[in-house]
Amino acid sequence: MIRTLAAASLRRHPARTILAILGVAVAGALLLDMVMLGTGMRESFRRFLLVQGFQLRIAPKGTLPMDTEATINGASALLRTLRTNPDIIAITPVLGAQIHVLQGTRAITSFAVGIDESTEADYQLEAGTNVAAPDHIVGNAAFLTAMHVHRGDTVDVVTGFDPQLRTYVGRRRLVVVGRGRFFYTSAEQPVAAVPLATMQAMGGPERADRVSLVLARVRDSANADSAAAWVDRTIPRVSTISTDAAMRQVDERMGYFRQLAVILAAVSLIVGFLLVTTLVTVSVNERLGEIAVMRAIGVRRVHIVQQIVLEGVTLSLVGAVAGLGLGLVTAHFLNAILSDFPGLPATFHFFLFQPSAAARSLGLLVIAGILAGVYPAWRAASLPIAGTLRREAIA
């Protein structure tokens, strides 16, 4: 009967009920979006770093991975040393550099990485085949579009221009064998991958046996921070950062941003709470006579409180579910807008849906709905019956 009465009460003013649900839905959507933004960027960055499961990034001493054009010399020796550590179970070297694709009299510039052919560490193949021979090249969609090439076409690629001899250096004719989605660059930036040896050879003596970065995977039972410390101790010419260390830096740098998200989430929660409180209070005040009559005919105070709280919970719950949908839609559009920011990797998302975080935030909204109903319900159920009936009769 409590459920029947609560439902009847909500049906009594359908427009008001719908507006209340919409209000809660908007507050819930904002709450969800702020939670997705606050926790999603961090999680997205973590996934971004772990996209292929490499926990260590080994860069030239004093630099961040691929942050400068600096390279590590003695790459072969470096790789041999890394393989002596039993905790390191996979390594893949990367050499990044600018390349120029010749198109008649002009050259179109692109970024390229020389990679270990056995590991898809930098991209995921979308079509065709991986680089498996010295003259193979895989590009992303932006690269293929910018160079006006398709799979199977050949391209003339150079790594530089010698102004004295007025000739291109490091020239190679390569076959486009595949299209890939590159993890660490933006979708609109042309980028390509070639075999590491090809990239080193194109760079001439300056690039021989050099790499920009080495990615390393540590066994699950090992501590990545300890492995990173071992690398730094054993190979002084490199700086190693683990994913956990990178995440700690992210946490430090994004702290203010997360605080902002928490504040906005709290504001939306308070707005939802106040909205439900207002609606329930108005509804209860309209029904003081009815509530007094229920008390007079023997309905227990706790049952009246339960009925009114159930009304608040229903508003919050339905609003929260609607807010979930609304929040996901708005997050999708906001993410699309923010992801257009130049230079952002395609795999990076500002809003990341995490079921546990969504359940927590919307659960908070429902709890707010419960609390919103308790006070007006208890106040109404505690009014003196005779006095309330007398006032209602006079009114």
């Binding site: 009967m1 029947t4 009465l5 009847a8 009460s9 049906r11 009594r12 006579g289 009815e290 009559v293 229920m294 008390r295 007079a296 005919i297 023997g298 309905v299 227990r300 105070r301 049952h303 003196p384 019956i385 005779a386 009936l389 007398r390 209602e392 009769a393």
Partner: protein
């Protein structure tokens, strides 16, 4: 249900000879701002099982205040109110609520039905509160609606019923848990003469079937239908001359 339960409106304690109601020197004072209003000034009365009492008097004489004390929705400032032998003024809120639910039926001037519930659901409400099963309370609600002549209108909401019909639903609701005492505050006050007469007839029938009835009224015809009339003035019962 037992055989005696099959009557629609049995009186809860009709075989007992002890008074259903015993009020002893009851006072009720209200504070209105700085002023103390003495609504009842030493009222004493007894109502026997199966009695039908009308309380009459001018507005403000304390009729409704007395009815509220009998209905356990208010407490005397001084004195004692015994319903079925129990001192209801000393009851805690939870106990008083449970007592009202099982022992007292209330009928109000303005019916006060739940607008979004059907006639049957309104009658079911006290039974649901008393923990009766859905099947049992539906059967009982139908029985009561038949008793008050509204068996065919159980699905109608209050807004779809006339004033007289709403009051009959309210009476059926008041009888739901087979109370020993039925209290009515101006039950014909909102009704036209013809409909009021129907309600008067219903109260008479209820009393004939064994229900102890106390009505507060300005309606001379309703008061005349009672077995006994109590006159009040200035918070006191006027002794019969």
């Amino acid at each position: 249900m037992t055989a005696s339960d099959t009557r629609a409106a049995p009186q809860g304690d009709s075989l007992s000879t002890a008074p259903v109601v015993a009020v002893r020197d009851a006072h009720r004072d209200y504070r209105m701002g700085q002023e103390v209003v003495r609504a009842l000034r030493g009222v004493s009365l007894e109502i026997a099982p199966g009695d039908y009492v009308a309380i009459v008097g001018p507005s403000g004489c304390g009729k409704s205040t007395l009815l509220n004390l009998l209905g356990v929705v208010d407490r005397p400032t001084e004195g004692q109110v015994l319903i079925q032998g129990r001192d209801v003024g000393a009851m805690r809120d939870r106990e008083a609520t449970s007592f009202r639910l099982r022992n007292i039926g209330f009928v109000f001037q303005r019916f006060y039905l739940m607008a979004m519930l059907s006639a049957r659901e309104n009658v079911e409400l006290p039974m649901a509160e008393a923990g009766m099963s859905a099947a049992a309370r539906i059967a009982r609600a139908r029985e009561l609606l038949d008793y008050v002549g509204l068996g065919a209108r159980e699905r109608h909401r209050p807004g779809q019923l006339s004033g007289g019909e709403q009051q009959r639903v309210a009476i059926a609701r008041a009888l739901a848990n087979r109370p020993g005492l039925l209290l009515a505050d101006e039950p014909t006050g909102e009704l036209d003469a013809h409909t009021g007469a129907e309600i008067i007839g219903l109260f008479r029938r209820l009393n004939e079937d064994g229900t102890t009835v106390v009505v507060v009224t300005h309606d001379g015809e309703l008061a005349a239908a009672a077995r006994r009339t109590i006159h009040m003035r200035d918070g006191q019962i006027i002794p019969p001359t």
